[in-house]
Symmetry: none
Subunit: 239 residues, 2 copies
């Protein structure tokens, strides 16, 4: 089976290069090109389609200088471009998710994400395509049954757990992350402990992990008696 041709649409050059590099590391995917804004993305897709090598999948950032990602998706459909779309955004608004689904977005990635998350989402998309290309054996005839379609949809939309370092639980990490997102200023490990009802050791361990991952920054707080206290601050997610 030929590779899935991917177009990366992202205005920030650093992020665009990162996504392109991610694509290169994945089996079964080929980078078709990159576009820094909506207009050039649409033009590129039209050119590729005219050249007989249409784009199969678009990694579409929602925040672009000229057009919103949803607008691009709508214009794509209006222009007869029916590549599948994986939306990438830092905007955590659920109503946007619904609108995105209505315009044919098959996956939704929230920045910042790790390569593991990225690979997982694209992998499930590839599995979705493969299941539609060759349905499960055992059914006679060329048609697809309801369960075949259901299985394809399931593989497209199934969540998956990512491997975490030993000693850390996914649910706990998520609680800490959600709490940190809401804090505008810096918080100490003790404050996290009180707010989430967990022990000081646990709170500190997860904050330390997030600091290592770059999701939060760690600074020292002086002025009070006692050993200086580390305070953690949610790093502004790069648009």
């Amino acid at each position: 089976m030929s590779d899935i041709r991917v177009l990366v649409v992202e205005d920030e050059p650093i992020a665009a290069a990162a996504h392109a590099a991610y694509i290169g590391r994945l089996e079964g995917f080929t980078l078709a090109g990159t576009a820094p804004d909506g207009q050039s993305a649409l033009r590129l897709m039209t050119d590729f389609a005219a050249a007989g090598t249409p784009v199969d999948l678009v990694l579409l950032d929602m925040n672009l200088p000229d057009l919103h990602g949803l607008d691009i998706a709508r214009r794509m459909r209006a222009a007869g471009l029916f590549a599948d779309i994986i939306a990438i955004t830092a905007v955590r608004e659920l109503n946007i998710v619904r609108s995105a689904v209505a315009t044919g977005v098959v996956q939704y990635l929230i920045k910042p994400f790790t390569f593991a998350t990225f690979a997982d989402k694209l992998g499930s998309y590839r599995l979705f395509r493969e299941q539609l290309a060759s349905p499960a054996a055992g059914h006679a005839g060329p048609g697809a049954s309801q369960s075949d379609v259901d299985q394809a949809f399931a593989s497209l939309r199934a969540p998956s757990e990512l491997p975490l370092p030993k000693g850390l639980a996914a649910s706990t990490l998520e609680s800490v992350q959600d709490f940190m997102k809401l804090q505008s200023g810096a918080v100490s490990a003790s404050e996290v402990m009180d707010a989430l009802g967990m022990s000081r050791v646990t709170a500190r361990r997860y904050l330390e992990y997030l600091a290592d991952a770059g999701t939060v920054t760690r600074t020292a707080r002086y002025g009070a008696p006692g050993r200086p206290e580390n305070e953690y601050r949610w790093t502004r997610t790069a648009s």
Copy 2:
């Protein structure tokens, strides 16, 4: 939450009446109207949108006298109509499924189907909407995390139609579901074990399956020594 307004698009009068009757039997759904062909369907949707009562969901037959279902979906998007679509078809062609996904089809029903299948697909769609309207409890704040989005997408799967994984029995799953429905708060796996008289392993396996299917949410309970205990909460809100 107000009901989901549904438009039935179906050329055969008998089938159209059947679908309309199905809608009437479902909690949380209201029939907005029926259309026998693509042109009148588009006109109806435009009129509803202009009247301030837009259609939320379209049950769209793929084989219509004037237009193909995919064409209708594309024209809807081009016209700025972003109702969600559940495709209904007797044509079992998988490439159509892929194109349908690209135009924002959220579910795919293959005729002939029973009322149970119909109710299941629409029920999972309603759960999808509810999860996007109010993300899972346990996470504070207005933002949605990656796992919230994943879980919403997961509700679009059809657990009852998928073959059950090895080791699960339908009858046991039903009793666990019935018990969980009655619980207002969160329950742990041990409590389910005691209440239903089954082993901890079995209770946990079924709860885990339900959590994966999005029917229950899983959160951790902190504060006590020892490994945190998972507690499960029924999420399907009876509207």
